[in-house]
Symmetry: C2
Subunit: 191 residues, 2 copies
DNA sequence: ACCTGAACACCGTTCAAGT
DNA sequence: ACCTGAACACCGTTCAAGT
């Protein structure tokens, strides 16, 4: 009897189109922000518009594919830092800084990430929840060490980190102040 | 000789259409946010689309007309508080709270207000600058009294206040935390 | 002077027709 | 199994034609 195959390997052209879409997506979203024209993405990938929708049924699915790896790494990194925890505050702050860099990858991404909280059906929901919880571990450690206020929740942290990233995207003057604003907000979290 | 009239009174129908547009605008923007469909505004006002554009050449012009009074009042209020200044910190914080309420009038308004910083041609630029500078007066007073960190600029303040308003708009869970997040951010500004 | 809506160039999304 | 692009219902914005 023949070998059973529950999961088929994708057809070669499908795989190639997916790769082209991801590459084009990264470029176009970098230029136009997270709300970029999906038509432009398909055009840049030299692929039919329907093909884009076949691979990524909505904008969040494309974003998820583009960002998943980075977000998983960030979640892992938080887990490691929480386990080590020689300086829990420094660990938290360092991780937050990295998170902000990721959230600032595309203009308007912070809004999309926060919107994840109100619809669990979003393809981004899983990666975001994982990241949020990982950050929550670092937060809890810093709180146990008496370095961060006890009334700060993981969601608070997620909201404020995205807000700082969001500010930087709104105007060049603000992007310049980004580091400083990050510091001000973090200081607000200290006991 | 006849009386010179440099500024004509607007035609009655024009005045009426403008009023209808403002009322419809307030409703539709409240429902759909600052990025609402201008077609819907014209429809609700029972006015041709061209009429909307004649009265308000772009979205910011409509927003300005809808928000001008509130923003001017806020600027005045800041001026008064700065002059009185019995408790400069309480004055600043109270004013910030009021500002946040105004910035939260329509979803996505905070982004529009911050975007004002990057294009001075926006009809909202004047009212925003006035408000920013008025808030800056309260900030300076609180800093002179040694209650707020000296490294906080008026632009920092404007950015953070809008960011807190923005967070509240992103998800119901976050709207609930709005007061608390406001407190955290303000604490970050204290010396 | 002011109003109107068709016209244009864009969207996101779907789906019948192809290979 | 997958790709394609026309089709649909929307945008913002402009402008010739009307009153």
């Amino acid at each position: 009897m023949s070998v059973e195959q529950t999961a088929r390997a994708p057809r070669a052209d499908a795989r190639r189109n997916r790769d082209r879409l991801l590459e084009a997506g990264a470029q176009v979203l970098a230029e136009q922000g997270a709300g970029a024209s999906l038509r432009d993405v398909a055009r840049r990938a030299e692929v039919g518009l329907g093909t884009l929708y076949r691979h990524f049924p909505n904008r969040e699915a494309l974003l998820e594919a583009l960002l998943a790896r980075r977000f998983e790494e960030l979640a892992c990194r938080a887990g490691e830092l929480a386990a080590e925890q020689d300086d829990p505050e420094a660990a938290l702050v360092g991780w937050l800084r990295e998170f902000c860099a990721g959230a600032g990858a595309y203009r308007d991404l912070p809004g999309t990430l926060l919107a994840t909280l109100r619809d669990p059906a979003s393809p981004l929901h899983a990666s975001c929840t994982a990241m949020r919880e990982a950050g929550g571990g670092l937060l809890a450690a810093a709180q146990r060490a008496g370095r961060i206020r006890a009334d700060v929740t993981g969601t608070d942290l997620f909201a404020l980190a995205n807000a700082v990233s969001w500010i930087a995207d709104q105007a060049p003057v603000l992007a310049e102040r980004s580091e400083h604003l990050f510091g001000l907000v973090v200081d607000g979290l200290r006991v």
